[in-house]
Amino acid sequence: MALPAFETVPAPPMVRIRSVRKCFGSVEVLKGISLDVPVGGVVCVVGPSGSGKSTLLRCVNRLETVDSGRIWVDGDLIGYAERGERLHHLRPAQLCAQRQDIGMVFQRFHLFPHRTALENVMEGPVVVKGVPRDVARKRAMELLERVDLAGRAGHYPAQLSGGQQQRVAIARSLAMDPKLMLFDEPTSALDPELVQEVLAVMRDLAASGMTMMVVTHEMGFAREVGDNLVFIDGGVIVEQGNPRDVLANPRHERFRAFLGQVL
């Protein structure tokens, strides 16, 4: 079957990271990272503690600024506007607009403790997008149902288990209809028996076509759901590839040593 030429051109990636460097004081945490995440792709980022995984993720939605390099999400340069030869800082309102399309899930959930599960999920659409409350409530209920927590809508975070809180946090991010979801060790703060319920939600999300960047120590999840596994150590990408392949045949000594510790 002869396909028209334009259909064979690869789609532009959802996330394009080029030569990103980042220092904290005199310590260079990211030493030139380049990485693409295709639309609908799931990239799992692994690496030892302090290797810069969180920092990389936080640069993507600009909770941290980069020192050099470029990050594009869905074709938009993050944090700057390119006019002629020079970059111009975006105004705060423009930064907020960029963040709306990027969901982030934190290791320690960070649900708003003074709002119920339902109110947590409604908060973004109502405050940021100005969605009417009844519309936002209906949508929030659907999302809570999707993460299997419709029965807990009226509970405050303190009344929920860690796994339930993390699922509410995922629903809260999804309420903004993001193009991209960032997960920073979403199951690391959970008791072992609660990890699977969160991974199940993330698996569903990946299957529904969401583009995801996931920092995780769950190698099983990476092998099963990930399209690409990236091993970061010392602020550089040491090894990457199809998770099944690289986990079966790790080439670099440091990656092998790391796998020996986590598996």
Partner: protein, 310 residues
């Protein structure tokens, strides 16, 4: 936690005998003696006050609802509420400036709290009352002695009431700044990040996420400040502020019932502070939302141990 299926807590259902604890407490004579002594002391004190002829209870009762006293009471309430509201607004402003990235704003805020916490309120009140000696007129126009659009004379603008309000509110703002700052700092930085990740602006983060949580820490000391302010307003009597203490003094300068008038004022101060304490209790409960949930949960979990020992 839910029990395993088939497990039961009902001891009788499991065939266990019922063993009630019906224990006798050891006698505590010391406690009874102390209570009796305290009770006697209180009754005796009350008796000496009530039968004391020098206290003129009839005068006290008569003046309790005197028009001038009630007028002074109203001024006290107005001064307290207005200076607390303005003080809180100034405090939030100063606290947000203090936590901002700009060194100029931080410096201005630090200067404000440093100066107004460092000088006595009494001095500030007298200063505001006599501000006309330094700035005879205020105007809106071009700064640095340029032409003025509108101009007021200080001695028309500065009444005892406005001087009192200026003094109390600006002084209060300096203290509230510290309280608000501590409250804002008590909020987990992760909360700010989660809100920013949703795309909230700085203002939205502050208003929707940080301040409501900071309130939990801000409210109790603010309640104390309010109660303290009810009484601090009496300092305004040095500039004849027409509040409760000033009118009481005016009355006793006429009828020489010094003690009776002071008791009348004190009774009203106690009534106000009592009402304020009750109000504080309910407001604190309101801002415990989401946190009392945790406490009831903990309490429920502890119940098997707590039972019977209270």
């Amino acid at each position: 936690m839910t029990g395993a299926p088939g497990a039961t807590r009902n001891s009788e259902a499991a065939g266990e005998p019922h063993l009630p604890i019906d224990a006798v407490r050891p006698p505590r004579p010391g406690r009874w003696i102390a209570a009796a002594v305290a009770l006697f002391a209180m009754v005796w004190l009350l008796y000496t006050i009530i039968v004391n002829e020098n206290l003129h209870w009839d005068v006290i009762v008569e003046y309790l609802t005197d028009g001038r006293i009630l007028g002074g009471l109203w001024v006290t309430i107005q001064l307290t509420v207005l200076s607390m509201v303005i003080g809180l607004a100034l405090g939030i402003l100063a606290a947000v400036m203090q936590l901002s990235g700009s060194p100029v704003l931080r410096g201005a805020s630090a200067l404000y709290t440093w100066f107004f916490r460092g000088t006595p309120l009494l001095v500030q009140l007298i200063f505001w009352f006599n501000i006309g000696l330094v700035f005879p007129s205020f105007g809106i126009g071009v700064p640095f002695d340029g032409p003025k659009l509108v101009e007021w004379q200080a001695n028309e603008l500065i009444t005892p009431f406005t001087a009192a309000l200026l003094g109390l509110a600006i002084n209060e703002g300096a203290y509230m700044a510290e309280i608000v700052r501590a409250g804002i700092r008590s909020v987990d930085p992760g909360q700010r990040e989660a809100a920013e990740a949703l795309g909230m602006t700085h203002r939205q983060v502050l208003r929707r996420v940080v301040l409501p949580q900071a309130m939990r820490v801000i409210i109790p000391p603010t309640g104390n400040q309010f109660i303290s302010m009810l009484k601090t307003t009496s300092m305004v009597s040095v500039i004849a502020g027409a509040e409760l203490l000033t009118v009481s003094q005016r009355i006793y300068l006429g009828n020489f019932e010094v003690i009776a008038m002071l008791i009348v004022a004190s009774i009203w101060y106690i009534v106000l502070t009592t009402i304020a304490s009750v109000g504080q209790h309910f407001i604190e409960r309101r801002f415990e939302r989401g946190h009392d949930a945790l406490r009831t949960k903990v309490r429920r979990n502890l119940r098997p141990f707590g039972k019977g020992s209270v």
